[in-house]
């Protein structure tokens, strides 16, 4: 049995839990985890709230979805989650400019250090005050190579298409490597 992971990150209230809930075959488990970082040398511990969902692919393959708030430093997360990690989804609430600064910070880190492909989900596009995807792309200073996808986390089809776009990006990147 092989397991692979995807991580859904982003500011508080951006829709991470909802996103995972829409496609998980189990009830989303929300946990608090203590994570200590070896890379930090100094023993440092941080508590991270995590959601946890599952999609069984076949007898031999399971996909786990982790939801975790964006951190200024992703070392912690990477260390425990990166084994078997396929990619990231960065969720942004398209309605709340007060969270864009934090989202930009997360994306700036990703732009520089993300070890795997990622896409950005412009969530809550069903709401009246939602910023348009192309405006958000500029507001978040997103690299033109990174996909910015409209998303409604409460709709399964929308979540599916975000996951698929991430998987297509992963395939593309594999093609480029060789």
């Amino acid at each position: 049995m092989q397991t692979v992971k995807m991580v859904v990150t982003g500011p508080f209230n951006s829709g991470k839990t909802e996103f995972i809930r829409s496609v998980s075959e189990i009830d989303v488990v929300s946990t608090e985890r203590s994570i200590s970082s070896e890379a930090e040398r100094v023993k440092e511990t941080t508590t991270v709230a995590m959601d946890f969902g599952r999609i069984t692919v076949d007898d031999e393959l399971v996909l786990y979805l982790f939801g975790t708030p964006g951190q200024k430093r992703f070392d912690f997360m990477w260390e425990i989650l990166s084994e078997g990690m396929l990619g990231f989804i960065v969720m942004v609430d398209s309605n709340r400019p007060e969270t864009f600064r934090e989202a930009r910070g997360i994306l700036q880190t990703f732009r520089a250090y993300a070890p795997t492909p990622y896409v950005v989900a412009a969530n809550k596009q069903d709401m009246e005050d939602a910023w348009e995807v192309e405006d958000l792309r500029i507001a978040l200073k997103l690299d033109s190579k990174i996909k910015m996808l409209p998303c409604i986390a409460t709709k399964k089809d929308s979540v599916k298409s975000v996951l698929l776009e991430l998987l297509y990006s992963i395939l593309e990147e594999m093609g480029e490597v060789n």
Partner: protein, 271 residues
């Protein structure tokens, strides 16, 4: 779909950057604590600005610029009160009183003066209305936003949340490849040139600061202006170590990974 929020979260500089990069046409409304302002753009260029009920009519602008004396202004008002700005402009030009150049320069100066004052606003509601423009009989200008943004960000005494905007000084900078984004067309001061001359994915922002003997706030302020003017972007410094785990992925067999990803795709499509 909306484009609105509070300036605390998305600054005037950032709004101008958005209008510039998206090439927007329309009017930005800003509501400060006591007064509102309207700034209009066409295809991402600044064309008009109005602050509260300040006299932004052609006559008001020319009087303020000293091109028309107050008593002349009164006279003109009496005789030509029914004339639109464009008609009045033509009248003044035809009478040999002012040149078209005088008029445009005065309006340009006025628009920039208003806009630079707006850059100091740190709080207040904003909204952008697509395709709303000043009436046709207004005289508008057409100014590139890169210079306005650079100059505007210089004038901000203290940029809000500067550290959050540029959290990591170990990253590097690179020039943006975009039509219209030519650093040579921008009026940079000496300090900015010093930074620009070291921009290269090999140099971290921290190294550039050190070389130029700038402190963290100084370097961040300059980088912020360049970023918001859409001239540079932040990239990973070449040679900087990748997170340890990153290398691990490369080791997994490629064919195996491809088949795995394809199985995931099939599964999610069928959900």
């Amino acid at each position: 779909m909306a484009l609105k929020g509070n300036l605390r979260d998305f600054s005037v500089v950032q709004l101008f950057n958005l209008v510039n990069l998206a090439g927007k046409t329309g009017t930005l409304t800003l509501e400060g604590p006591n007064v509102a302002a309207w700034v209009s753009f066409r295809d991402g260029k600044l064309i008009h600005a109005q602050l509260g009920n300040e006299d932004g009519t052609l006559l008001g602008v020319l009087t303020k610029a000293g091109k028309v004396r107050p008593e002349q202004s009164k006279l003109i008002k009496g005789h030509a009160s029914d004339k639109s700005d464009k008609e009045l402009g033509l009248l003044l030009i035809n009478a040999g009183y002012l040149t078209q150049q005088d008029i445009l320069a005065s309006i340009q100066h006025y628009v920039l003066d208003v806009v630079y004052r707006l850059f100091a606003w740190v709080d207040g509601f904003f909204r952008f209305d697509n395709d709303v423009l000043p009436p046709d009989d207004h005289i508008t200008v057409r100014l590139d936003l890169e210079n306005v943004i650079i100059e505007g960000s210089r004038r901000i005494e203290q940029i809000q949340s500067l550290e959050d905007e540029i959290p990591n000084l170990d990253l590097a900078l690179n020039f943006v490849e975009r039509p219209g984004a030519n650093i040579r067309d921008v009026h940079l001061n000496t300090q900015e040139w010093k930074v620009v001359s070291y921009i290269n994915p090999k140099n971290s922002i921290r190294q550039i600061a050190k070389t130029n003997k700038m402190n963290e706030t100084e370097i961040r302020t300059i980088v912020y202006g360049l970023l918001e003017a859409g001239l540079v972007e932040i990239v990973r410094a070449e040679g900087a170590p990748m997170p340890a785990q990153a290398e691990q992925f490369e080791k997994v067999n490629k064919v195996e990974r491809e088949s795995l990803v394809n199985r995931l795709i099939d599964r999610i499509r069928s959900m």
